[in-house]
Amino acid sequence: MKHRTDGTAGRAGVPGGGPAGTAEEPVAEIRKLRVEVGGRAIVDGVSLRALPGRVTALVGASGSGKTTTGLALLGEYPPGARVTGEVRPAADGPVGHIPQHPAAVLNPARRVRALLTDIARAQVRHLPRRRRRAAARERVLRALAEAQLPDAEALLRRYPHQLSGGQQQRVVLAQALLLGARVVVADEPTTGQDVLTKSRVVEQLAAVAARGIAVVLLSHDLDVVRALADEVIVMREGRVVESGPARRLWRAPRHAWTRELLAGREEFTQTAEVSGTGGPVLRVRGLTAHHRTGARGTTEVLRIPALDLRAGECLAVVGRSGSGKTTLARCLAGLHRDRRGEILLDGTPLPRSLRDRDRPQLAAVQYVFQDARAAFDEHRPVLHQIARTAVRLRGTGTAAATREALAALAGLGLPEDLVRRRPGRLSGGELQRAALARALLARPRVLVCDEITSGLDTLTRRGILDVLTALLHDRDDLSLVLITHDLDTAALAHRVAVLDAGELVEQGPARHVLTTPSHPFTRSLVASTTRPGGGNTCLNSRRDRGLGHHGRRTAPPAELWS
């Protein structure tokens, strides 16, 4: 079944001359895979070769069949699927899997060591019984060290929920390494992560590839694909649109769809001139917010001396995860009560808690959450839930509210037959539009958008950002607070406020802050983000900076790209 194929052209060796240096034999291969569910092909005619030490990226919007292809490598298919074509999973070793949400594959009721020990135990059967335990333990510790998890002894005793998202991901990676996987399938490993975490994940996966393991990366995050991929396969609606060496594909995409996908990032760099001439709608004065830690103690997580939001203005609040962005948003919306200082809406202080705000105040500040699916009741049609806003907050009659909701939804590109369904039938992007419509139906003065585009693929994200731009343009009285870790999204705003560890380190016009940042933290944030529109040279520097920046340099050298 093995096919010897010629090596990929134009590649200058593999790092370190390791085990991967000579082998060009794919460790796993898919040929002409077709997966059909209920008569509909979700993957059609996909071929893929996972080469040792190489990163093969499957790129495409959500629903393009990336995950189905990735799971096929693991020998798993959706229930009731009809599969044709040839899948040759790794013959001489199992396949590792790093799913999009690592927490889902970690047993919440068992300590971290449980599965690791079980995997290791199977490998030490040949040893005499009394030496097995020590040998298994040693293997587990080695795998954790290889996955760059320090303090492994303490970590093994913890439960998954006591780990950060990054640690969870590395534990799952350690399981794959312990297994001796020759192929690792990483499904959207960077979705919803901030820039610095992303570069750590990139570093991590590069290190895995450097060990001679074939990495199959499923992602819609072009930054990560750019930084890692040797081979890129662009997918759309279950079919391969284009594939080839990353460098060629990036420089000269042959297919229109690839060009569109790659162009996705360059849309929003042109900021509208500073409008927002009106007076401040929302003024924040001397705000400090606290989180409870343990029974009695509290820690201060946010300190904002002064921040204004003018009418018709879009203010982006940027920072890494854990910097207090969301806490600020929740303070504005009355969802975080443990705060001091004043939040003034048109000069009147807003009560701390949502419960103490009257209906006009509730309507004036509306919140759109990151996870749109969790923000809807899955058992009721979307339309009813949206119309309810007008009924509750503005006292509109049910019929009138439904008409208004339909108009608002149509304005955001959601047809009536779609919104009469339940949330489960809508895609993530569609639900996020619906959530926006729901907030807008309250006729808010201030719309708080908390990471509403992270977790969406490039094209869907572009659609949502288009909607936001149009909103700002059409409605003079509406002000936006855009919470984001993505500087390209922030570029959409008129003004940017930068948070670091709860402190407001810098604020000013977007163009000014993003191009000539004055605070060192902002500079590091801007530096670690790829500026769009760059060619190969930019990729080079990205590799240097993104990986070299954080000390441990384990990635393949940058010469690969030249």
């Binding site: 889902a104 599965l115 297994l179």
Partner: protein
């Protein structure tokens, strides 16, 4: 760890308050019942003068709050009071009848855990197949039969014929272990419903856990089927099962009135029934304290197990 300790402290405090509330409620209810111990003692000769005399001798003519205060003062000295009808200390009275109840509860639990978990795991393993259907429908059917009905049925079928099992424990006193045959029917009846509810909970929890991504992940990485079931899927299913087990044990220890009455077993349930009939307030109150404390401790124990097994969920105090 301090979180766990403060949880335990909070729960114990709350439990003490709950026990006090139960005692007060029980006292108020027994006061509200028509008649008192004097009326009950007077029996067939309800001569008002005689009743008044008995009442005075028992100090029942004093106001209710004084009697309660006396009893509470005694409680702080470890004295549960004296039975009105027999004149014996309540503490000794309860200790004596706790034996049979504890014996029944222990036996039932020792059989309940393996049978309940075994059936549940067996059904989950064969989900949707004949074995599962059989277990599920039989457990549902048995669960639907009340204890007294099942007890009567078993007595009729197994005891009321020559060479059958003894239908009641009359004549064996509190030494039930001396004649194990006496215990067969009561334990069978006590087991019937808890086995059904436990096995159904284990089945449901296990099926959920087996369908979870983390079990798929463990299987993918070559962990054997039995180990996946026991070490990776079962811990997730354990929490509701342990809570149910605590409820069952609570029910067993606090005197299963119906079963004890049916088989005439001199346990706490029988004592409770007699004490209420005789308006023996100190005994009823003593039982309320014992039941309250047992309930609080058992549920705290179950919550601690749950806390350990599903630490993320937290436990409401």
């Amino acid at each position: 760890m301090s979180g766990l300790r403060s949880l335990v402290a909070r729960r114990l405090l709350l439990g003490a308050v709950q026990t006090v509330a139960v005692v007060l409620l029980v006292f108020a209810l027994t006061e509200a019942l028509p008649g008192d111990a004097a009326v009950a003692l007077a029996g067939d000769q309800p001569d008002p003068a005689r009743i008044a005399a008995i009442r005075e001798a028992m100090h029942l003519d004093r106001p209710a709050h004084e009697r309660l205060a006396d009893w509470v003062t005694g409680l702080f000295h470890g004295d549960l009071g004296t039975s009105l009808t027999s004149g014996r200390p309540v503490g000794g009275y309860l200790a004596e009848s706790f034996g049979p109840t504890l014996l029944l509860a222990t036996l039932t639990l020792a059989l309940l855990v393996p049978i309940g978990f075994g059936l549940g795991m067996l059904a989950a393993r064969h989900e949707g197949r004949p074995a599962d259907r059989l277990i599920s429908s039989v457990t549902l059917a048995v669960y639907a039969v009340p204890e007294f009905a099942l007890g009567m049925l078993l007595v009729t079928a197994l005891a009321l014929r020559p060479g059958g099992l003894p239908p009641t424990a009359v004549g064996y006193g509190t030494d039930l272990l001396g004649r194990p045959a006496v215990l067969v029917l009561p334990v069978l009846v006590l087991l019937s419903r808890p086995v059904c509810s436990l096995s159904r909970l284990v089945r449901a929890g296990l099926i959920d856990a087996l369908a979870s991504p983390y079990v798929a992940h463990a299987r993918r990485y070559g962990v054997s089927g039995a180990r996946v079931h026991c070490a990776h899927a079962l811990p997730g299913a354990l929490v509701p099962a342990v809570q149910q087990l605590a409820r069952t044990l609570d029910w067993l220890l606090c005197g299963v009135v119906v079963v004890e009455a049916l088989f005439v077993i001199p346990g706490l349930g029988t004592v409770l029934l007699d004490a209420v009939a005789e308006r023996d307030v100190p005994v009823v109150q003593g039982l309320a304290v014992v039941f309250g404390v047992l309930t609080v401790l058992l549920h705290l124990g179950a919550d601690l197990v749950a806390h350990r097994r599903a630490p993320r969920a937290g436990v409401a105090a």
